[in-house]
Each structure stands twice: as C-alpha cells, then as structure tokens.
Symmetry: C2
Subunit: 200 residues, 2 copies
C-alpha cells in the first residue's frame, strides 16, 4: 500500500490554509491518504532561528501580497484576518482531542478552523469559537470543553510539536511522503511528480 | 510594447541559477525581453534581517537537498560547489562593465558564471576565472582587468544593489514584471499566469 502524505501546518499559516484546500485532491490523484498534524510554529521558529515572514521589513509586505495572490491563483477564498497572526494552541488541542475519537471528523474540524479564520475573519484563538467549530464538525463540544483546558492535552500538543521537529519539520505547510520532505505550498508540484515517478 | 521582465539574482544563489536557466524560455513564451541585474545578497539580507538559508539549523540541510532536487525537477545540471556560498562582487562588477558595452554579451557572461559555479564547481570569486569567463563570452578581458579593480565599478555595483532594494527586492531570484513582484523560482508559474492574463 502506498504510504500516506504527512501534512504539518499551523492554523495561523496562510500557506498552510492554501495547502489544506489543495491536499485532498492531490492525495486522491495519487491514491494516498493524508495525516493532518496541526503544530505551533512559535517553538519551531525559535529552534530554527527564523521569524514569522509577515513581520519582517520589506519581505513582510511582499508576503502579505503573496498570501492573497497565491490564494487567488488557486481560486481559494482568502482575506488576511485583522488579528493576524493569532495563537492556535486551543485549536490544535481541540484537533487532537477530536482526532483521538475520529480522524475524519478532526480533518473536517481543521478545515472549518482554517475557513473561519482565513475566509471569514473569525477569532479562532477564542475557545468559544473553537468549540462552536468542533460542534459544527459533529463533535460533542460540551464533552470537549473540560479536557481542552487540561494539562494532558497541552502536553500532547507539545509532544506533537517535538515529534514534528524530530522529523525535520520547520515550516507550514510541511509534507513528508515516502520519506521525502517538501516544504511550502509551492512544492506541491514537485511532491506530485515525486509520487508519480517514485522519485527522480 | 509589453514591458520587460526585470530579473535580479546573486551569482551565488542556487535558485537564481535555476531561474537563469528558465527565464529565457519563459520570456519568449510571452514575447518579453529580460533585464538581468546581478546583485549582492549580503547587504540585502542585512537590511531585511534575514540570513542565508543554507546556514540555518534544520532548514539549511533541507535547503541543500531542495536546491539539488529543484534543479533535477527542471532537468538542469547542478552540483552544490564545495566553496558555497562564495563572494560574487567581482563577477557582478564584470557583468556591469560588459553590459555597458553589450547587454547580450553580459547575459552570455552571466550564464557562463552560473554554469562555471553550479555545474562545474569552479571558483567564480577568483578574478582570473571571472576574466576567463568574460573572454569566453567574447569580451576583451585585457581591457576589463583594470576597470574591474577601480572604485567606479565598485560604486556602480553598490548603486545597483541600492536600486534593487528601493524596488523592493529582497531575494534571489526576484522578478518584477508589469509592476508586479515575484520572489523565488517557484513563483515563475504565477508570473507566467500573470503575463498570460494581465493579472488576476
């Protein structure tokens, strides 16, 4: 059986959002499944010594322009949220709580978080919004509310970020397929060619 | 008449090299000419607050892997030189000295510098190598040798780097066409779509 596409992203990453809209079709074209892994770029950037693109002089302005242009290029609705970037710990915690019961539901939840933030400008750092989106994805939001505040899930997300870094992940989106890493939504064509040819 | 494609690069940039191999065909497909502008990324990175990719922890190793893979993807010969990165002041100075007489010859010279460095692993920081490549492009290398050491051409290259930064350039390759900036060899598909549609 062909291996899955491992897909890491931060819910506050515009290119991660664009990738989340494309990856389903990409995987289907190559008969692959996708494992979604929300992570937190804060600790990752600290380890790598990089900074969020949008805050850099000169490059930051270009990046904001490129976020929107790249979304338009792929015909994906996009509006840079007023509160950008935003903390995504709560959304990541909710994702893993949901995923432990139902991976498909967690993917649906993740898509809703991305859409709420980048298409509708909602505050996905707000636990109430996160629980609403979980409910919309069919999760039992009342049952989620307690564990979402607990230490266990915080530790779990920390471990997921650690594992991502151990796998060499340093950005969003970041893919690994058949052991080969691809960073950036602009590497999807290379990733597709890799799956088509088995490497080149 | 459609506007030219402005193309900035550093001779030590692997993605700049890949772009230099692709841009001629890209421009021809859209009936455009290309203005080549070698710059020095050192002062640019200082202004933007970024660092050379290849030296970063984790990201650096991936980048080296991606340089080679991206070249293979485009079927371009590539071998990361042992002395990487390398100072490209002398090559840039020679380029502008040649370009003042003959822009086509300067482009030919630039292609030879890129090929000497990234396909053959030659030391393009060495003025003797630079003069050899200039001669191979048909320039009068004996007449170049003096001006290449002069203050005037140093000042000229400084001014070219300044102008690039004023135009918003912060990387290599960096393109501007019809006023629209595109950073990275992976933005060539968007640049082509932009020229095809007149923006979207």
């Amino acid at each position: 059986m062909p291996s899955t596409i491992e897909f890491w992203f931060d819910f506050s990453s515009p290119y991660g959002y664009v990738a989340s809209q494309l990856i389903g079709d990409v995987a289907a074209r190559h008969g692959r499944a996708v494992n979604w892994h929300p992570i937190l770029l804060g600790p990752v950037f600290k380890a790598v010594g990089t900074a969020p693109l949008a805050g850099l002089p000169i490059k930051g302005d270009y990046s904001k322009h490129d976020f929107a242009r790249t979304a338009r290029y792929h015909e994906i609705p996009f509006r840079l949220p007023e509160n950008f970037p935003v903390g995504t710990q709560v959304a990541a915690r909710a994702f893993y709580l949901i995923a432990d019961g139902d991976a498909d539901r967690a993917r649906d939840f993740a898509s809703r978080v991305f859409g709420a933030y980048f298409a509708e400008g909602r505050d996905v750092a707000d636990p109430a919004v996160v629980l609403q989106l979980a409910a919309a994805a069919g999760a039992d939001s009342a049952a989620l509310a307690g564990p979402l505040k607990g230490d266990a899930i915080k530790e779990r997300v920390r471990a997921e970020v650690e594992n991502a870094m151990k796998a060499g992940v340093f950005g969003s989106p970041h893919f690994i397929v058949d052991g080969e890493p691809f960073w950036g939504v602009d590497r999807i064509p290379q990733m597709e060619e890799w799956m088509r040819t088995g490497g080149w």
